[in-house]
Symmetry: C2
Subunit: 494 residues, 2 copies
Amino acid sequence: MALTDRTTPQDVALNTDLYELTMAQGFWESGLNQGEACFNVFFRECPFDGGYAVSCGQGQIAELVENFVFNEDALEYLAALPAPGGGLLFKQGFIDYLRDFRMHVDIWAPREGDLIFPREPLVRVQGPVIDCQLLETALLNLINFQTLVATKTARVVTAAQGHAVSDFGLRRAQGPDGGLAVARASYIGGASSTSNVLAGKIYDIPVFGTHAHSWVMAFPTEIEAFRAFAKSSPKNCVLLLDTYDVHQGIKNAIKVAKEMEEAGERLAAIRIDSGDLAKLTKETREAFDEAGLSYVKISASNDLDEYTIQSLFAQGAPIDSFGVGTKLATCDPQPSLGGVYKLSAVRNSKEEPWLPKIKLSEQAYKRTLPGIMHVIRFVDDAGRPIGDQIVDDSVAVGNSTIAVDINDPLTTYDFTGATGIELLEQIIDDGKRCKEPDTIVVAKERCRDSLMRLDPAVKRFLNPQTYPVGLEPGLDKLRHELARTERRTASKTR
Amino acid sequence: MALTDRTTPQDVALNTDLYELTMAQGFWESGLNQGEACFNVFFRECPFDGGYAVSCGQGQIAELVENFVFNEDALEYLAALPAPGGGLLFKQGFIDYLRDFRMHVDIWAPREGDLIFPREPLVRVQGPVIDCQLLETALLNLINFQTLVATKTARVVTAAQGHAVSDFGLRRAQGPDGGLAVARASYIGGASSTSNVLAGKIYDIPVFGTHAHSWVMAFPTEIEAFRAFAKSSPKNCVLLLDTYDVHQGIKNAIKVAKEMEEAGERLAAIRIDSGDLAKLTKETREAFDEAGLSYVKISASNDLDEYTIQSLFAQGAPIDSFGVGTKLATCDPQPSLGGVYKLSAVRNSKEEPWLPKIKLSEQAYKRTLPGIMHVIRFVDDAGRPIGDQIVDDSVAVGNSTIAVDINDPLTTYDFTGATGIELLEQIIDDGKRCKEPDTIVVAKERCRDSLMRLDPAVKRFLNPQTYPVGLEPGLDKLRHELARTERRTASKTR
């Protein structure tokens, strides 16, 4: 989603679930629009059974918040919506309220490319309760998918061991915006380039491409197709070998590579897109080396993900670069991060103290954390993260470096002696950006550095170690107290 | 993707993979831009291990094709792109060619909402080879995801046995366009409504919503929250019971329902979003019935899909409607249709006969079908489809009603006596629409009728029967001949 490039202000405000608007009307009508709330975007489990996630999408929040207005066209649509039980869904007074509506929230978030763990705020929003509520769907729509793609890409890039990975996912994405989000987030997560031309233009990401099987099929013979491509793209020549038969394709490509040498050009690479990639790339490498063409690189594609790439290298496949499409763009096998947006505190006005809130559930994992939370990441002398502490300053016990595990209160972590770094930064003040977002190149470097410093046991795909995340003791105590009192008093029938 | 509403012409042409443009330049340079090609969008296996797919997205092809132009901004970007080996990627002559480029393709497609099976064209494109190539990515981006979502929804709606299903997926979609595509395709696939307000406005889909847990948490007590919502939305009142404790929530909701009755209003429904939905909905139904509130409906949500809904009804859960979000918007557990776009014929000019083409592969399932294909669906006297025949008229053996299975040439189907119906219709003639797309309401009705007529054995989720799809004998023969000759001659080194 590139709001300024592709979305009109009207779209921004209506790109939401209906209930955000009916709740906003309810808050407006019940006088609670004077009240303030604090909401957090977070997820409950790391995606892909992995040990971490890469925060992404936060760089586009400012565009969303600053452009959040209802124009006449949108208001006209809302004003005419019928209520299922008869009459209209929205009152004219509320429509008028929306006409003048501007966001007055304050927002904190981790930097794009920073690692993030379950229960930590991916975004923390504070402000008028209506403003907070109206942002829910759009924020989730923005953060959920990009964080998931950046995380998937980080895994693929880790498996690729320094070899280039290009995003080929546009054709399997959810429309143009889906493709743009994939390209942006995968670049931050570590991809070197994208096949998506529009993403290249909008985000200044390097674009990359070869040719398709159809190119070969459009010519009478494969070698004529190869020759024509070499002539047309001599400085960008990657030949696809598997249209008919890879072994014959190797012979034809070697022949054309020799012809290119005579013309003073060099075949950049070949690509294989089907069959046994481990076996075929070894045979290809051998044939090209024997022909004195060891400079020709080998590129592979075909339903790749972190597991197939890991397996290919385990088999010694001599692959120099990867095109990763479907499984990156759809984040197969986990196409959703499951990020949610939950209330954690309310107050009647800006002047009053916050009242922490939790949501309970029969399902323990659906219970939320209360308060105005921020995160301290503790790092050792080499800058390696050793654990995170979630803190609510209003209940913090001195400067405790103890953290109580969220799921297992009998486990505590002691970060004494480590250096604490603040993970969240304020990016929005009263509805306006108070800091320009980082460029995606900066976010990409941050992601790479963070992954380099992360314990390999947390990074591995199979049964990763759980990175320690705990509650500051005061927050842990508050959570237990609230769970008891909410059950007892808040649901009481009056 | 709603092109006219949300995408500028510049976006349409650049929403593509880079290799489409480098190939286009190659075709332009090698003189093959006089040539014509025929491409087909198709998938190789039904999604979700199911027995069918619902074709969707075709209604937006006309917007894509008619708006496919490169503006100066796009051309400037392309003209400046560097080639990896030095110099520029695109020649000035080709940039000038793109400046005047307009689509001159003819397109055939099945109607939206029609059932479609593996290997059948979801779109058939004919025309200048460059035009066909430049459409590839955008068509796949449009058709792949919407067909997948419509299919997923058809399954969910089948499981719901006539109870309403609402799309709640926006927050887990790939940006705003992803959310719009989900809403549009799920409506065609059988959803009654969407939570997505923008989709409601653009596509005229009924919008639906309740309230969130945050609504309850923003008030001092649950019952105050319920009362405030009933007051604000008396004609649209659905109360969410599981913020703290469902059993207390039931008592509070009954109390508020009685208060609403006194005020001459009616509580429409309650919603449960966590916990054991089978158990909790039964308890809720019982409590409301005992309180004389049997008119209050029960709505359920929480990571639902066709399997959980089927299981809930198998347990006798008294649920009246479903909100289905994450697993619908992401098409979990198969987030990609895997639709491809393959060349099936070429000719040197409009006046010459078509030369059929196939792509071979070590992997049998990656081999393609040749020719200018259309599909005849055979139906019995009751209008029930009994099998499909893929035909290339130029090689057809009389009016054969025999079809040879694509994967197993020893199996043939005999459709003698059944009525043949043409599945594809022409929608684009020389780059312009020659037929207005159906409304999504018409497509939705077509989908419902088609599913009603489909053999239940093909519709079931577990080990569905394979719907018979075969090649007209002439096409089967052509395919075998081509496979032999292509291997022998086309890859020959000259």
